[in-house]
């Protein structure tokens, strides 16, 4: 068990009244500086957590706009890779960390503005304005 993982004792967990939850960062538009191997690994970890597309520039100069859904980390960058889906490309794609030169969080963060508090506020405003059949609708995908 790594120290990074183990934060609570069983007794502390059992006594929790409220869950502390996870702090989500605002990453949309971010272009991380990739000066070191550690920077790249950290940025790709954030890209894996990100609920939007990112743009990867490879060392060969190719730009890939994709949703990163998985990463596998190894001892070296060459042994580590991301898996992603690219729009209009069927099937899973894979790219080694060693081939990545630049990363940009270019796509819309699909989780942003989806908090409970946002809904409560919108609901009350729409209700006060006399609106009926109030609802949130999924984003159009076609």
């Amino acid at each position: 068990m790594t120290a990074e993982v183990q934060k609570y004792t069983r007794e502390q967990v059992e006594a929790l009244e409220l869950a502390p939850g996870t702090e989500h960062q605002q990453l949309e538009g971010w272009v991380p500086e990739l000066a070191s191997e550690g920077d790249l690994r950290e940025a790709l970890e954030k890209a894996f957590d990100y609920r939007g597309d990112v743009t990867i520039t490879t060392k060969a100069g190719k730009k890939i706009e994709a949703f990163i859904f998985n990463r596998r980390t190894g001892a070296t960058l060459a042994e580590s890779y991301v898996q992603y889906f690219e729009a209009n490309v069927e099937g899973k794609q894979k790219l080694s960390y060693a081939e990545i030169s630049r990363l940009e969080f270019t796509g819309k963060d699909r989780a942003a503005g989806k908090h409970w508090e946002d809904w409560v506020k919108a609901y009350n405003e729409r209700k006060a304005a006399g609106e009926k059949n109030i609802a949130l609708h999924p984003d159009k995908i076609d």
């Binding site: 993982v5 934060k7 069983r10 967990v13 502390p20 898996q83």
Partner: protein
Amino acid sequence: MAVPISQMWTVATYVLKKRFTGANRYPLVLMLEPLFRCNLACAGCGKVQYPPHVLKRMLTPEECFAAVEECGAPMVSIPGGEPLLHPQIVEIVNGLIARKKYIYLCTNALELKRRLHEFTPSKYLTFSVHLDGERDHHDFSVCREGGWDLAVEGIKAAVARGFRVTTNATFFDGTDPHSVRAFFDEVMDMGVEGIVLSPGYSYEKAPDQHRFLGRARVRRLFRAILSNRKPNWKFNMSPLFLEFLMGDRKYDCTPWGSPAYNIFGWQRPCYLLQDGYAETFQELLETTKWEEYGVGSGNPKCANCMVSCGYEPTAVMDGFGSMRGLWAMIRGTFSRYNDPHALKLLNEFPKRESHSTLVQIESTEREMATR
């Protein structure tokens, strides 16, 4: 008894066979997510927040069948997204019935009444309809006024046509146990086979991290809700899992008990946490660092999880794993859990006259203030 004998027999013999063959880790329910697209936009849902090109992707029926056969679990839950939006969902369901899998098709039921004629009633097929409480509460929870009415129309139509139907509710901080108990009366009157419930959990991918109960509060809430049961209430769940929610049992998580498969692959470590994906079920079992997850690990990501996908497999394995467990399950199935202390606890919760949305605002503010 809400779960049919044939289903219990299938699960019991499966568990015993696994135990006799010395299997340490084995699945009970495959969480098969054929798509993430949904026709609701529930605030705080962490399951559907993807770019459009990802939401358009779906598992094919062949991919679903391959995952089911690879995993081997006797039960398959089909959540999503909304499975009824999958154009080949009927083919998927029929293929699983042909494989004699007990299926829980988890739906918000907005499309259920319209699509019902495409399905055939079977002991293997249950529509598990998402209903989070009484009308106002549910509509506010799923961010759609009128959602409850459509879902209930679907439930009634499905019951009338002879389908197995359960309701499926998630409860968050601020839940009024009096309202939940009234909701149980209401859904049992609709003729459903049983109720499924779970506490909410602040899994990392959920955009909303502020409405979730800690374990101590979960136990109090569920002790108030589930003690002193009405005779007509039936739960389509392990009675030992319900005792766990009420604080009568201490269990560890069995994340491999409900493995999840979707367009990304086999999700590790569980249905709600997304720490990566494996290509095969075997790879999932062999390469996931299981010791880093679950309540016993101290991992903050698992701190408040008491969700059925992790703990009900533990309860089922406990129940079918020994004579003592079996007896506890039989006793729990028929007990009404009469408890004067729990009644007092229930009465300490403020009884709300209406299910005003303002209740939710107060809840959110109160919770954040105590953080």
